[in-house]
Point group: C2
Chain length 214, copies 2
Amino acid sequence: MKVLIVGANGQIGRQFVKLLSEDPHHTPVAMLRSEEQISFFNSLNVESVLVSLEESVQAIAAVMEGFDAVVFTAGSGGSTGADKTLLIDLDGAAKTIEAAQQTGTDRFLMVSAIHADRREQWGNEIAPYYVAKHHADNILRASGLAYTIIRPGALTNDPGSGKIQAGENLEGGPIPREDVAKVLLHALTSEHLHGKTFEVISGEEEIADALKRL
Amino acid sequence: MKVLIVGANGQIGRQFVKLLSEDPHHTPVAMLRSEEQISFFNSLNVESVLVSLEESVQAIAAVMEGFDAVVFTAGSGGSTGADKTLLIDLDGAAKTIEAAQQTGTDRFLMVSAIHADRREQWGNEIAPYYVAKHHADNILRASGLAYTIIRPGALTNDPGSGKIQAGENLEGGPIPREDVAKVLLHALTSEHLHGKTFEVISGEEEIADALKRL
């Protein structure tokens, strides 16, 4: 599959692009917002396209032509304010979804967050972020695209174990970003996950087996 | 009609509640977030209920039982940050819509903002606010409720003229809050406006006539 990774320069994005680049079945292209981000992807022999999520739907659609799938793993992150959460995590996602609809890019993977549908579990400080993720996910679910929404628990930089727990309603727990990237790779070609939303944390089961039972 | 006004203590809210309280066909109830806001409504002989838009859908639904209509004119305003824009203007609206669905309160008027569907017209500074309004409106349009979305131009505190221009795609222009309140009053019982979204600025036409042609 030819896969456009939106938010490729993020911590999950970089690991996922690297995995894809090592897989002979896939061709990743990194969507980046600035030229300084290109060198990492050049070193992986991965093509890049330059467009910011603050640009128009048309600008995003223009680089999306000819892809089989979009993986959205962009986020404004903790160092910017809630204004960027609105512009990137919510409306950047909405615009990417509209671009996918316009270009007929049917397969769409979204990196969301555990408990994004359970307002009662949103702590005060992180609640604005959850509002954006919750509604971005709802927009995707209403989009008519062949989506899969993946909601990891607390992200860590530990090495991946390749073993997870996956389900619709988990208590919570940590998961290495490396394992989230591996889950994305498995989910990408799993047709039974079209139209599904699931949570994922570190666990006891091989990724392929855990995803099979969803 | 028994009408719940969400954001009753706002500048449009207060004028709208006052208009409703003077109309023998309607009974307004002010939804307020703090006790200090009650005295104004007591002075109008208008009942108040206390619940914050940061509370749960269940808490909002609990005060919404038995109403015929909801008017959402709440906004976090310019003195708070974009975190409150996410929590109030977007998720507060979403929760109010869910509460209306749960309680069977079918009629729903939303005070939105001119150009909320046209990203190319969102200036940088106000763009985060527009993201919230745009997506709140989209949630309402997908809700199945008998909605009307009213998108005023630049709000002023001038006395209302009672004359407006209304349409789906206006250039822009000012409108007194008093006239927005009057538009809400007319729209409330206008069945032909169910399922409609329109923009409104000051103009040459009587409100009733301008709305009739939508």
